[in-house]
């Protein structure tokens, strides 16, 4: 059996079911709506595993599922050297959201990462602590800012309502997912011109972990033929 991990609820699950359905593969939850078991029709040898999108990267890397649907941002955030652990099979064209860096609109002097870096140096000198950026995407943000040469910042963890942290003065800037930018504007924030860290979308991934059986490889081939990827 080839285990396919799919988000267990919400829009992401519905869209995933639609995406496979349009390609002749029916995915559905079995039993009651509260039960996290599923069924696959239209291709043999695949078992559906319903789980949280945030757990898909880890389960793929560990080899407990063979294929999985999750956001490309989550794979990059949760796995070191992600493309050595999983492989993109197909971008799915939904669940699009941008991970961006945003600062207060009142910072009229800050529009680029260079500006942010200079502002961070001055901020630290004035306030005695590094400029705080609230986010839940620690790895992605850190690697991005390192590559772009931004220093004197500090990441503070924010698992929700991140846009509000600046007004509450628990952070000076944020790095968060946005699809329209409306919440940002409502909270007096603006996106840096070169502040796009990653354009995320729902993606079907394959785990690279060794030990696939001949049957599992054959099943993947059959599936890929049906998905036309």
């Amino acid at each position: 059996m080839l285990k396919l991990g799919v988000p267990s609820k919400g829009r992401l699950m519905d869209k995933t079911f639609d995406w496979f359905g349009a390609r002749g593969i029916t995915l559905r939850k079995s039993g009651s709506d509260r039960e996290y078991a599923g069924a696959v029709e239209g291709v043999d040898g695949i078992e559906l595993v319903l789980l949280s999108a945030g757990e898909v990267p880890r389960e793929l890397a560990a080899g407990r599922i063979h294929l999985g649907v999750t956001g490309s941002d989550l794979v990059r955030e949760k796995l070191s050297l992600w493309d050595s652990q999983v492989q993109e099979v197909a971008p799915m064209g939904f669940g699009g959201a941008d991970l961006i860096i945003a600062v207060p609109q009142s910072w009229v002097d800050v529009d680029t990462l260079d500006d942010l870096d200079a502002a961070a140096a001055a901020f630290r000198a004035v306030h005695g602590h590094r400029l705080r950026i609230a986010t839940k995407y620690h790895r992605l943000v850190r690697e991005f800012l390192k590559a772009q040469g931004v220093a004197d910042y500090q990441l503070v963890d924010s698992q929700g309502a991140t846009e509000g942290t600046v007004k509450n003065e628990t952070a000076e800037a944020i790095a968060d997912i946005t699809s329209t930018g409306e919440t940002l504007r409502a909270n007096g924030l603006k996106i840096l011109g070169d502040g796009l860290i990653h354009a995320s979308q729902a993606t079907l991934f394959r785990g690279r972990r060794a030990g696939w059986t001949k049957e599992q490889r054959a099943t993947l081939k059959a599936l890929e033929a049906m998905l036309d990827v």
Partner: protein, 361 residues
């Protein structure tokens, strides 16, 4: 204890005895350190390179990624001068980009705090490490961050620009981008042009959101206006910096090249004189200075904030890290000593790599 661990322990003891023979006192350091100091020094990047954890009362803690910080802190409490220390123990490094590399390994170190004779101290550390590695297939490489720092300080430009370059000295790509911008080689971003065209860009701002105040924003706009009025760093000066960074020769040839560069960039004369004195001190200790390699960019991407002499001993085997590294870190002692700086230089040897090079493991 496995055979390997026993062999490493024996080699560790041998190396530490070598340094004790150089007059070093043995110091110890905690394995679990407060993360605050390291985060202050290295910023968030330390999280990619060291293991951080939290203590329910002590806040963020870190498994020591090296001994330098705790040894400097211990020295600042005792402040003997001059002082020599040696230590041995494991360090712990995350290897996010190189999972095949060791995550914990032993280091044996030798540190000299001596403000009276910096060239002599540099030579003492280098020679002690060379002696401890005697007979192994290793090649030393040296460099000097102090020369680059002096060159930046000597540029004909504003103090603000010099400070920006100094701040990014250890980030080669960003340093290059800044040099290109200050040299007028890259376009000014359109957002900057638009900002400076306005008489009062802050006039449209009713309310400032967050902790960064209106005064701070106004101060930066003033600084940006001043920067826009500053003439570009000349091509000649940028070429001199490039020449220093591109040096890759034997130490005596580098010294000669630097003396030529100093004619056009007199600000580096002191640093070049220091290099000359160091080479004399190394020669006096029997180091084969004529064949010693020198690289102008060496030591700019290491974890340490070296700011003078830097060196490494590469093993003559592919894909293994340097068996020994070290350098001078005067500025670090100033930051850890509340402004009380003590000139300091030191280096570490990895006993596991010594054994690998000797063919024992």
């Amino acid at each position: 204890m496995t055979q390997d661990a026993a062999a490493i322990a024996a080699e560790t003891a041998r190396l530490r005895q070598t340094f004790e023979g150089e007059g070093a006192a043995v110091v110890d350091a905690d394995i679990l350190l407060s993360a605050d100091t390291l985060l202050d020094l290295y910023g968030e990047d330390i999280r990619a390179r060291a293991y951080l954890t939290t203590d329910p009362f002590g806040g963020e803690m870190v498994l020591r990624p090296d001994f330098t910080v705790p040894v400097v802190e211990a020295h600042m409490r005792n402040h003997a001068d001059p002082a020599r220390y040696t230590y041995a123990g494991k360090v712990f490094r995350k290897q996010e980009d190189h999972p095949e590399r060791a995550h914990e390994y032993a280091q044996v170190g030798f540190e000299v705090f001596d403000g009276h004779d910096p060239a002599g101290a540099d030579a003492a550390v280098f020679a002690a490490i060379a002696k401890a590695l005697d007979g192994l297939p290793v090649t030393p490489v040296t460099g000097d961050i102090g020369i680059l720092m002096a060159a930046v300080q000597g540029l004909q430009t504003s103090d603000t620009r010099k400070a920006a370059l100094m701040r990014h000295l250890w980030r080669p790509r960003k340093f290059r981008a800044l040099l290109d911008r200050f040299g007028g080689r890259t376009e000014v971003p359109p957002s900057r042009v638009a900002l400076l065209e306005q008489a009062d860009p802050l006039a449209v701002v009713d309310q400032v959101v967050g902790k960064r105040s209106r005064d701070e924003i106004a101060a930066r706009i003033t600084a940006l206006r001043a920067d826009a009025a500053t003439p570009p760093i000349s091509d000649d000066e940028v070429a001199l910096i490039d020449a220093i960074l591109g040096l890759r020769e034997t130490a005596p040839n580098v010294l000669s090249a630097l003396r030529d560069i100093a004619v056009d960039l007199p600000a580096i004369a002191g640093a070049v004189q220091a290099l000359s004195a160091r080479l004399d001190a190394l020669a006096a200790r029997g180091v084969a200075v004529d064949a010693l390699a020198f690289e102008g960019s060496y030591g700019r991407t290491s974890l340490e904030y070296y700011d003078g002499f830097v060196f490494g001993f590469a093993g003559d085997a592919p894909d293994i890290p340097p068996v020994a590294t070290g350098g001078r870190y005067d500025a670090l002692t100033a930051r850890l000593g509340d402004g009380r700086a003590v000139p300091a230089v030191g280096g570490v040897i990895r006993p596991d790599l010594v054994l690998a090079l000797r063919g024992d493991v």
